[in-house]
Amino acid sequence: MSDLTGVGIGRGLAVGPILRMPEPLPEPADAASTVGADSEKVRAAGALAATAADIRLRGQRAGGAAKDVLDAQAFMAEDPTLKDDVDARIDSGKTAERAVYEAFAAFRDLLTSMGGYMGERATDLNDVSQRVVAHLQGVSAPGVPDPDYPFILVARDLAPADTALLDLDKVLALITSDGGPTSHTAILAREKSIVAIVGASGALDLADDQVVIVDASKGTVSTAPSADEQSAAAGTIAARAAAADAPVGPGALADGTAVPLLANLGSADGALPAVEKGAEGVGLFRTEFLFLDSDKAPTVDEQQAKYTQLLEAFAGKKVVVRALDAGADKPLSFLNDEPEENPALGLRGIRALRANEPILRDQLTALANADAATDADLWVMAPMVSTVEETRYFTKLAKELGIKTAGVMIEVPAAALLADRILPETDFASIGTNDLTQYTLAADRLLGSVASFQDPWHPAVLRLVGEVGRAGVTAGKPVGICGEAAADPLLAVVLVGLGATSLSMSPAALADVRTELARFTLDQAKEFAELALSANSAVEARVAVTAAANSLTTPITTITEAE
């Protein structure tokens, strides 16, 4: 088959055998048993016991917290009450597959109806149910494959539950057929520095054990690489690993212009690794990830403890925290429970917080308390601000509750266009390029079929960034970039040329961006920005700037490969 193309995440390279994520099993048909109740019961009992043994074995291998979760799952497969229910359903004429499916579903519904923690166990039950049914049908169990060798995982897309179970020591790369550069898979890949290609249509046709080369910098999957190509790729991988160990320093352009490089983090746990990779602070701390498992808003004390832990890791450094951002792709039931036809255009970001002001007040209070107890330089920003009036509202409330530096995120074109009125009303702006691109191009960033529109190189997006940059210079206020665009090394240079004063990205991208910034002066960055702005499309902009950059200096990739 021919090579595949998609959107590469980062610049990594990987070589290895493919393993496909099994598709979820269809619901077993409710057909009458042809082998009789006694045989069905023997089949069911065997499959339940074998599944329990398999899960327990995986638990022993995983160890730690995963072992506890998997042990509990094993007991679910061995559950005597469930077994009685399965047998009763078989007695009524059902097949073992159907009886197992229905019995687990009945318990799942019971737990779901109890809500809260019990409701969350429903996912475990679904997983066990799928495994037992897979065993009965003689197919491989759905879920993340767990072989004894390193592999490249191919999936339609990955859910957070799947990614939590990934053994990162064994996953060489991820390839998904769906999902764009802001899908869960892409975010995970950036956060954990996994080589990934998303939105590679045709990926599901790859066969298990087929060896491929994944090149994220080109966005390509070579499906039939020669032995020479494989060893060349392995050599490049080793050379890059050596280069990544080079000492780190603050981000700056070739002429010495400082461009602080900050980290995007989703939990306080990520702080230490980010510092090790040279993060000069945090440019975007996403708070909603801390609360996704809750069915009610966390208390001030709970939040304060988490923020304190984060701020302590960045003593003396800047930490920009984003207020809870409930939205289309990360709903929080306690903020907005109403179904919406267009959630991306709905009650989200600052709009949802404003409708639930006590939650916003609690969060700002917890942040102010944590700030007072630590030495970090805390900045707090409101998500998805679209008007001058919202800017005034948030800045005033944050100051009133003790936040020293309050700002807004520019993700909506309206806010970018009026940045010259917004910036005087607040302390800083941070541009979220993912949403800004989605709203500017009117393309759902979660939809694979329009993933090609989700390209922050688009001149329309860059023009809006330029508006904000100009307004920042006039008002004398900092303008940061905290979208994934900042993680694209050459685009990072363009963004600085457009007026960005700091860049925040997944820690994995810091080294590449730092290297790229050091190649150019501020004047050159401004020239690149002009080139990109005068292009007709994202592709043209990228090609024009790449050509200009390569004519100025020796391309980084050539240096690496020559070593």
Partner: protein, 87 residues
Amino acid sequence: MADRTVTIASSHGLHARPASLFVQEVTSSGLVVELTKGDKKINAASILGVISLGIQHGDEVTLHAEGETAESVLDGLAAFLGTDHDA
């Protein structure tokens, strides 16, 4: 036959991990043990039964078993439930 009434000590109640440890204790005893909370009675070897009772910290539950070893088995199980496994 033997009965024990115990107050749950685990600070987060009998959720997945303590529930799973409890079921393990029950299973290894080899006895059929009944667990009652309020008007609901379940087989204590059933983790789904235990979880579905939604047992919280401070809840009072009753254990019941029959057989020669019932007294000592229930002593062990009562001690388990009277210990905070989230500590």
